[in-house]
Subunit: 223 residues, 2 copies
DNA sequence: TTGCTAAACAAACGACTGTTTACATCTGCG
DNA sequence: CGCAGATGTAAACAGTCGTTTGTTTAGCAA
């Protein structure tokens, strides 16, 4: 069982080494649950059954681990978003607002239940980082999602030609809030409703979220 | 200079001791900026110019410090909310939805700029805790805001008699998201709009937020 | 004055932090 | 084979963590 039949690019750490993946997987979950500073490297190395020094070896530092995590997980989301947005414009010259919002929100939410995008913990981690003022978090999120966010602001503005740009941007901000809070799945609304409302049910969440946001977007701008 | 002319209730820590306040003030700011686990008690005691052991003496533990912080800061918000809601019902038998939303959102946002409610850092701290899955955070938030939240869900449902209860609850959840994200002031929307949109401007934020949410609340329920 | 107690203090507790070092092991290529 | 480079590992690094300890100060009551 010669499993080490890997690494065809001798340059640097291009191997499929399961160690890397195992670290990323565990780190994703623990970071999401306890926050960056709430988890020690020993907890990660322990649970991933990996030597402590391996983390520094593969990722350089704890921050490097977070950056690598995002570099791997975030790109597919941003790409899927742009792909779905392009699909909107293929189907109609002026896509419906609801379809644009769907293209933006769906990739962010469904990857929690579609394992092909990675562990379901990433969506929580992202929501968590979104409310952190730490410089590193902001830099990472900006790098991963600025481009797709800008394109969607443009697309929404084009779908609502009578709405001032600033109004579109404010409402985009509110949409981000609703999205992140749904992603965070804080348990708050479950507690308030005895479990009747569950943000973890992403299909249902999207079905309620998109009409709600679309109505908000379409309302008259503030004077 | 006998400044220690305090403490008339010999029971327990009823003195006005500025130490307690200084600790709370600093902890509020540092917790908001770096998160619970991102700040050490030494950083707090150092910046508050207080002995390290004083924190344990006054608050029992680090968790106790957070609980004390919320016990002091959160109550005024919840009370102000209910006060404003009651004022709505005094002015009109069936208050406008916008007024209800204003009564809910305004106390949460303005206390960042009205020092009578405490330091402006508390609003960020609250937003941060809202996305944390830690059991302690959830317990603290629930204890502080469950009652007022339920009352507002009822009030919104009464203002929108045609909307199914579950739909109201979903939309309340989305409102919480928009509110918390505005409170967190993550800098994301500023970066995306070159500073044109600034959630830190709470007056403007409310002016854009309430019509947006009201339109969402009033839209037809999902089939 | 003598107790009593809240408050403040320095110092230390053991455990844990991220990172680095030095050394072992394994791999594929010349 | 032999050696270079990638990978894995144990141990130690210098700090920081939250908490506890024992002691001292200060003000009030009897």
């Amino acid at each position: 069982m010669v499993k080490a039949r890997a690494k065809n690019t001798p340059s640097r750490k291009a191997a499929v080494a399961p160690v890397r993946e195992r670290i990323l997987e565990v780190a994703e979950r623990l970071f999401a649950e306890h926050g960056m500073s709430g988890v020690g490297l020993r907890a990660i190395s322990g649970e991933a059954k990996v030597n402590l020094a391996s983390i520094a070896y593969h990722f350089g530092s704890k921050d490097g681990l977070l950056e690598a995590l995002f570099a791997q997980r975030a790109a597919p989301i941003a790409e899927e978003r742009l792909r779905l947005l392009a699909a909107c414009y293929e189907k109609a010259k002026k896509p419906k607002l609801e379809d644009i919002l769907d293209a933006f929100l769906r990739p962010a939410l469904v990857l929690g239940v579609e394992p092909r995008f990675g562990g379901p913990a990433f969506v929580k981690l992202r929501a968590r980082l979104a409310t952190e003022p730490e410089a590193l978090s902001r830099k990472i999120l900006a790098k991963a999602f600025d481009l797709s966010s800008r394109k969607f602001i443009d697309a929404i503005a084009a779908a609502l030609p009578d709405l001032p740009r600033a109004e579109v941007e404010w409402r985009f901000h509110f949409m981000l809030g609703a999205m992140f809070y749904t992603m965070a799945d804080s348990g708050r609304i479950q507690a308030l409703t005895k479990g009747r409302v569950d943000p973890g049910d992403v299909g249902r969440a999207l079905r309620h979220m998109i009409p709600f946001l679309a109505a908000g977007f379409r309302s008259a701008p503030v004077p």
